[in-house]
């Protein structure tokens, strides 16, 4: 705990075994370009007022994951070449809200 920082964990398709989904409102998605996963894209989570909440970098499978709270959120994906794509999603505790973002 004491040296646990705020950096994002590795973004993998499988939920880490230590996570108890019954307590979490997970938003998970995949960034693709022409069907292929895009790694090193930036996924930003914005709350219902558009305020920045979190950001992760997609892993090799193009995956990003947030531990949000119940409610409506926007995922903004940034990638090289000036790409910026917004997707809205609703999160609910105990569920994984899945998002697909094609850029």
């Amino acid at each position: 705990m004491t040296t646990q920082g705020c950096a994002a964990p590795a973004q993998t398709a499988h939920l880490p075994a230590t996570v108890d989904l019954s307590n979490e409102a997970v938003i998970q998605g995949k960034v693709t370009r022409d069907g292929a996963p895009v790694s090193s894209a930036y996924a930003r989570l914005l709350d219902s007022t558009g305020e920045f909440t979190a950001e992760v970098v997609t892993g090799d499978e193009g995956v990003f994951r947030f531990f949000a709270a119940d409610g409506d959120w926007t995922v903004r994906v940034l990638a090289a070449g000036g790409v910026s794509v917004d997707t809205t999603v609703t999160a609910k505790t105990g569920e994984v809200a899945a998002v697909e973002v094609a850029i």
Binding site: M1, T2, T3, Q4, G5, C6, A7, A8, P9, A10, P16, T18, V19, D20, N23, E24, S40, Y42, R44, L45, D47, T49, E51, F52, T53, A54, E55, V56, V57, R65, F66, F67, A68, A69, R76, L78, A79, A80, G81, S84
Partner: protein, 279 residues
């Protein structure tokens, strides 16, 4: 102090990569990003294993900092350019830390790793080797570091800026939303704190907003820029980013970073905590 004394942009770094006396340092909590690719010539500092005491919750001490910088091949008169992932959070933390131990010439790369990647600039995997130095640190400059008792005393008198996201501030979330939420401490914020998320000081690409935008941001949120200020977050690295904006970019003289931040304050027995919106 002007912006160019503390911040450089990506074009500047590309043009000065080979300057003698310049050391580029990538700072991350998870250094696998560095291992996959970094700016040519950059060395890495691991925030977790190299800047923190392995046993106690504190920084490495002065001797530890001297040993670290000596081993990294950083000399006292080198110009150190810091950058990293997570919108430069850990790089800003390291910047504050270099200042805490009295390093004179240190700057941040505006936008950090993110801006560099979004620009599709060159990243390499080759790890440079630098000859060891005999680095001498100064005693910690406590004018820029706040401890818990000072934070309690600041309630209702100094500016307290909570730079976490609105949901962490109100008590809805205990940690940033990219992390699981199981935590030991209580949720909420220090009474009288203003919630000005670190992200409001940055553009989408991770670069800092202009001085004019920053001054308007803090003033409109109710911060009296003539008063002493303490910034905090969850563990002190996002608040380093805000400390940088206030102390280094806007040039305010009395700004401290509370590195104990919410993981300490929210675990203290008997201190006041406020929930919900700022009052």
């Amino acid at each position: 102090m002007s912006r160019s004394d503390v911040l450089v942009d990506a074009d500047w770094v590309e043009a000065h990569l080979d300057d003698p006396g310049l050391v580029l340092v990538e700072v991350d909590e998870d250094v696998s990003a560095y291992d996959k690719g970094h700016i040519r010539g950059a060395i890495k500092i691991d925030w977790k294993t190299e800047l923190q005491d392995p046993v106690r919750r504190d920084f490495v001490d002065k001797t530890g900092f001297e040993q670290l910088l000596s081993a990294k091949g950083i000399a006292n008169d080198d110009l150190v350019i810091l950058y990293g992932g997570n919108n430069n959070w850990f790089a800003a933390y390291a910047y504050w830390y270099f200042k805490l131990y009295g390093h004179e010439k240190v700057k941040l790369l505006d936008g950090g790793r993110k801006k560099w990647e979004l620009d599709s600039r060159e990243l390499v995997t080759e790890v440079p080797s630098r000859p060891a130095t005999e680095y001498k640190a100064k005693d910690q400059d406590l004018a820029i570091r706040a401890f818990r008792d000072e934070v309690v005393d600041a309630i209702g008198s100094k500016n307290l800026i909570d730079v976490r996201s609105p949901d962490e501030f109100s008590g809805k979330l205990l940690a940033p939303a990219h992390l699981p939420q199981e935590q030991a401490q209580r949720a909420g914020h220090v009474p009288t704190a203003r919630n000005i998320p670190w992200s409001k000081a940055a553009n989408d690409d991770g670069t800092f907003k202009s001085d004019e935008e920053l001054r308007r941001l803090y003033t409109e949120a109710g911060v009296d820029l003539s008063k002493p200020t303490i910034a905090y977050c969850r563990i002190g690295e996002r608040s380093s980013h805000t400390w940088f904006a206030l102390h280094e970019l806007l040039g305010l003289s009395d700004v401290k970073n509370y590195d104990g931040s919410w993981t300490e304050y929210g675990s203290l027995v008997g201190v006041p905590i406020e929930l919900g919106e700022a009052k």
